[in-house]
Amino acid sequence: MNEVKGGSAPVAEQQGKTPLVEMNGMAKSFGGLRAVDNVDINLFPGEVVGILGHNGAGKTVLIKMLSGAIQRDSGTIRINGRDAPINNPRDAKNFGIETIYQTLALADNVDATANLFLGRELMTRWGTLDDAAMEAEARKVMGRLNPRFVRFKEPVIALSGGQRQSVAIARAIHFNARVLIMDEPTAALGPQETAQVADLVKQLKSEGIGIFLISHDIHDVFGLCDRLYVIKNGQVVGMAKTSDVTKDEVLGMIILGKCPPGAIPGPGAMREAVAAA
């Protein structure tokens, strides 16, 4: 994992390796609308891949198919080279895929501990909830993420935005995730909290976790990503190593679908742009 640590791993170097996540021909329609149309995306261990696009471009639908929240119409998902039949969120979690949703997906009326273990509760030997053990674990993991967090007994609705975010992050990383999906991770955060998230991404990357960062704002993620995919109208405009393109070029991809020379065009790229490349 050393060659990918901290820097952008050249795609060429990785081509010999098995991708951590490989999605091929992913498609999903809602009525007549093709929200995701034949998308191929992959992710290597210890790599941060950005998925960029306008609101409504199809990035959240794509990622929800990977996290099992939306059932795909067609396409295959491979994890470590093996077919992964992901049809619901539980399947995805069993493959080590964890997601931090933009909405955080917390049950507002229960406490931080219950949210952290939601769906994966620790049980006593009598088959009842082991609240004390869960709270102890929660205190440990929250202590690492946010040492000032002490409100373990209160419903999460009473917490601040940053605290709620820590709970959602703790839930995603506590169960030995191999793939982490972060949907608009910094959209609701202040500058200090955004910096914390960036630090966390770097730390997880160095532990060999593959990370998808979903964003509509290029500035949020450009500095963190090794590679970028740009999606427009449900199709991939192009894929590029962050080191090979400028922010302006990526903006062009997002807004116009124009693929710059440094990027590998996809099916969604503008025709002239393909010709020019």
């Binding site: 996290s67 099992g68 929240a69 619901n88 969120p89 539980r90 979690k93 997601t99 949703y101 909405t103 997906a105 917390l106 049950a107 507002d108 009326n109 229960v110 219950a114 939601l118 769906g119 994966r120 509760e121 049980m123 088959g127 009842t128 909830l129 004390a132 053990a133 709270e135 102890a136 002490v150 419903p155 009473a158």
Partner: protein, 450 residues
Amino acid sequence: MTETLTNAPVDQARSLEEGALGRFLKATELDTRMLGMVGALLLIWIGLQFLSSLRLGVSPFDFDGRAFLSPRNLWNLSVQSSSIAIMATGMVLVIVTRNIDLSVGSLLGFVGMIMGVTQAEFLSGVLGIPFGHSSVWMISLAVGLVLGLGIGAIQGFLIAYAAIPAFIVTLGGLLVWRGAAWWVTSGRTVAPMDATFRLMGGGPTGSIGATWSWVVALVACLGVVFMLISARRQRIRFNFPLRPVWAEALLGSVSCAVILGAVWIANSYPWPIGIVRRYYQDLGLEAPEGAFIAHGIAIPVLIAIVAGVAVTFISKRTRFGRYVFAIGGNPEAAVLAGINTRWVTMKIFMLMGLLVAISAAVSTARLNAATNAQGTLDELLVIAAAVIGGTSLSGGVGTVAGAMIGAVLMQSLASGMILLGVDTPLQNVVVGSVLVLAVWLDTVYRRRSK
């Protein structure tokens, strides 16, 4: 408290600002809303005691007569509340998940009718089991429970898997099961019930007597103490903040005092003299002068308490209960967390059906008959009990204990007004107003506590 908090200085600084009451609540970790509800119930009781003793022309501090706070009236109140209280425990889970069950009253009528027909006609007439055979009550009860569970499963399936709104499915159920109850006997009332079955309805024989009541009280007190100690042990094991010892002791002794006091009241209500004489006659003895046989806890009340404890346990200590509340708080988050929300929803309605069947047994036994009007409008009383007890119709919030207190509160108003000779229409006006007032107070409380 050397073993306590790591953040003790902060807590101390904060508690200095909070005043004595705040410190007390913090130390005991009592739910202020629950306290408020108990306070409201006590206020209503005291008010009714004054009004009823005024009407009877006795001193308001006379607790032995026929005023509201007499053993006789409180014992009857406990029996009358039990049927609604049993169903209210399940309704909490239904409403917490943002559903509703309007069918419970009709379902009670239908299940009660089937249980009645089973014991009064089917078992003796068709299967040839003699009336009064010891298996009759068991078979009838089992038939009722299976039926309740099954109908709950059907309604739950339609709601969870066919995605028909609970309001519609159970509104349909309200009509369907009432009609079905009529259909079973073409509207005829079925009576009498099996003698053993009838014990579930209360009455002098349907109570467990003084000795066993004290045994139950003792076991309950030991249970409370054991729970407090084991909870404290757990917290010590994980180095969590602890309640001060005085707070634990206070909680334990107050709970035990309430339990013992309630049993003492139940044991102060004697059998009527006629039944006492017959009891001694059956034993071939002369009734002694001033014979006193106490009722003790009524069996339906015991059933309601067991149901309450069981559903509380389910909602607090099991995975299913945790999911019920998570679904209520954020259904989408529950799905994303990998919870099978449909199966959980279906199970809630199955539990509700089972509880309705238990209530049906209690009320059929109490009436000593199955009628097709049984349980009419119970759905509204059950929902009102849950809501008065702090269950939020927008989901995610509610306690079983609160709903049971709500059931007792409404029954207190109803029976208190009968005691005062208030006309039936005015009773409805009062109960309806109290429902609205209770929800309004709760809304205000919630807004202020945010």
